[in-house]
Amino acid sequence: MHKLTQRYRYSIILLKQLVKTDFKLRYQGSTLGYIWSLLRPLLLFATLYFVFAVFLNIGRGIPHYPQYLLLGIVLWNYFAEVTGGSVAAIVGKGDLLRKINFPKYVIILAGSFSAFINLLLNFIVIGFFMAMGHIGLTWHALLIIPLVAELFIFSIAVAFFLSALFVRFRDVSYIWEVILQAAFYATPILYPLTRIPHRYAKVLILSPMAQIIQDARHSLITPHTQTIYQVYGGDRWIWAIPLGVTLLIAVLAAKYFRSRSKYFAEEV
């Protein structure tokens, strides 16, 4: 254990300092500061709530639809923040890379952690709304921990891959922006999965993001959520697909990032 901390000592020191710096700089100069971390998803939530729940009434039939919607948005925002933020992260630190040798993964890890702190703050807001809506917690709520872990791994894996790819191909940032937008609508965030044809639902739910969001809603908000388990008619093994995809992307991204990171300094 001591040997392990010794080996990663420099990475840990750097990671702490970069996360701290990132947080300090994020809302610097804004009057409300950190409150924006909470205000941003809330305002987005309010807009979407009025459009989709009140005017279009898409959420009928789902108990606690506002909380259901908010949780989906918060989880998706985390994914979008981590991946969108890290695309240019390596290139953005190019000046540093050319001056000193340090473990490059720390840059991505730091971005991921500061987004994670944001996520935790947002969970406080969700908790507040859940209390308001008299949503009781069961033991099932504990499932949120492995689900958040899966979200963390999936997001950072995509981030590693994108940031390394961006060093060589600067189109990646534009492409990812479009993909992210499309994926937002391809994921059952605004609409319940029951409202789209079953054969499409069967495909959409296979994406790790859809699986995570629906499982999280199932465990925290309402058992009336269509999870991957229900879409596939009670086949436990179906979870292997999104989990397998997450794992596969994580391994491939780590390998790719590792092999490229040696050349970041001369390529950025």
Partner: protein, 410 residues
């Protein structure tokens, strides 16, 4: 001081190439279209280092010198682990801290205090470790009153002071120092050099990249000269400094022909009489400039002069046949030729000098004005910062306390 025999850095057959795409294929489109069209044509391999091998022992102060573009900075970055070599291996023992630049990671939007912690982390210090030396850092940088101000409000001098104050804390066995440390005002330089002396006393291993041969002579135990991406020599600082100077001399000869082209612009006059080829020799403590004048028309009362300029363009000395009352050949008939030999005491310091020849007459006609007609390089083992070094001697007389009375009489 004899360095320990323990090898702390070993470099074995390092080579480094940079692949420079002519038009960088950093968009996906050019990846697809470019790959099909110009396979292998759009790239150019630039050799930055070729087959470099050397060893550095513990406690050595090792200089790396070379001209711009010779590859010395690439070598330093490979030693620092910033670049990966294409071939070969490096081996380092102990904690290595590079100073390619001072204040790595400094962020203008953060306060001085926050930057100390950030830069500290870059150097591998935990928060607690920075806490314990924070006061010393601030005191050394003399910035007590400014630590809660943002770095963007610092003057560049203040920023360098803070960065340097951090750098001297670096707890390393091996330090890689690029010439960046040698910038700054006189006061800062003095601090740097004091720091170097302290490092040397503490038997730290230091690798120092520089252009400054004085620093090499003063601090280094050994030095490496790199030229055209290869090691030219490794040896005593004195020899390396001489060889380094020689590089510029060789370069001068090879580029003489190019100068011939531009030389026409620098040369003007009526052409009624012209200087022939100029030759500068150094013999003993003399500089001998030989040339000739040939006339194409009759000339009366000509004045031929010589000027010596330093590389920065200041005129160090000048004279002509009138001023030194030369033997009176001042009138030439058409077709006459005379030979000239200027001889002067070599009072010039280490460096390169340019000779300008002028041929005019007493009413102001310019026959030939040949700017930088020739150049010469003077090499001296000791060097001061002044352009000239005439022989100066000093006589001293010790006056004892008891004898002072006698002196006060006169």
């Amino acid at each position: 001081m004899e360095p320990d025999e323990e090898v702390v850095i070993r470099v074995e057959n390092i080579s480094k190439d940079f692949v420079l795409p002519h038009e960088k294929a950093n968009s996906l489109k050019s990846l697809f279209t470019g790959a099909a069209k110009t396979r292998g044509k759009g790239k150019e391999t630039q050799h930055a280092l070729k087959d470099i091998s050397f060893e550095i022992k513990k406690g050595e102060f090792f200089g790396i010198v070379g001209r711009n573009g010779s590859g010395k900075s690439t070598l330093l970055k490979i030693l620092a682990g910033i670049y990966q070599p294409n071939a070969g291996k490096t081996y380092t023992k102990g904690k290595l801290v590079p100073f390619i630049e001072l204040g790595v990671g400094f962020n203008a939007e953060l306060t001085g205090r926050e930057n100390v912690y950030l830069n500290g982390a870059m150097l591998g210090f935990t928060r607690q470790e920075v806490d314990s030396m924070y006061d010393d850092i601030v005191a050394f940088a003399e910035l007590e009153r400014f630590m809660d101000q943002k770095l963007k409000n610092y003057s560049s001098g203040m920023e360098v002071r803070l960065a340097f104050s951090m750098a001297v804390r670096a707890d390393a066995d091996i330090l890689l120092i690029d010439e960046v440390l040698a910038v700054g005002d006189a006061d800062f330089q003095r601090k740097c050099f004091n720091y170097f002396r302290k490092l040397k006393k503490n038997k730290k291993t230091i690798i120092f990249v520089t252009h400054d041969m004085n620093a090499v002579r003063e601090y280094c135990d050994r030095a490496l000269l790199i030229e055209n991406n290869k090691i030219l020599d490794i040896g005593k600082p004195e020899d390396i400094a001489q060889e380094y100077a020689q590089l510029f001399l060789d370069n001068d000869k090879s580029s003489d022909e190019d100068d011939g082209q531009t030389g026409h612009n620098k040369r003007w006059g009526t052409g009624d009489a012209k200087f022939s080829k100029v030759n500068v020799q150094q013999s003993g403590d003399k500089i001998i400039i030989t040339t000739g004048i040939s006339s194409r028309a009759a000339i009366e009362r000509m004045i031929y002069g010589v000027h010596i300029f330093s590389t920065n363009g200041s005129e160090l000395t000048a004279t002509n046949n009138r001023m030194i009352s030369a033997p009176d050949i001042s009138d030439l008939a058409e077709g006459d030729e005379i030979s000239l030999t200027w001889e002067m005491l070599n009072i010039f310091n280490d460096g390169k000098y340019f000779v300008t020849l002028t041929l005019v007459d007493s009413v102001g006609t310019v026959f030939d004005w040949d700017n930088e007609a020739a150049s010469f390089i003077v090499k001296r083992p000791q060097r001061s910062t002044t352009p000239i070094m005439p022989p100066i001697s000093v006589e001293t007389q010790l006056v004892k306390k008891g004898e002072r009375k006698d002196r006060s009489h006169d």
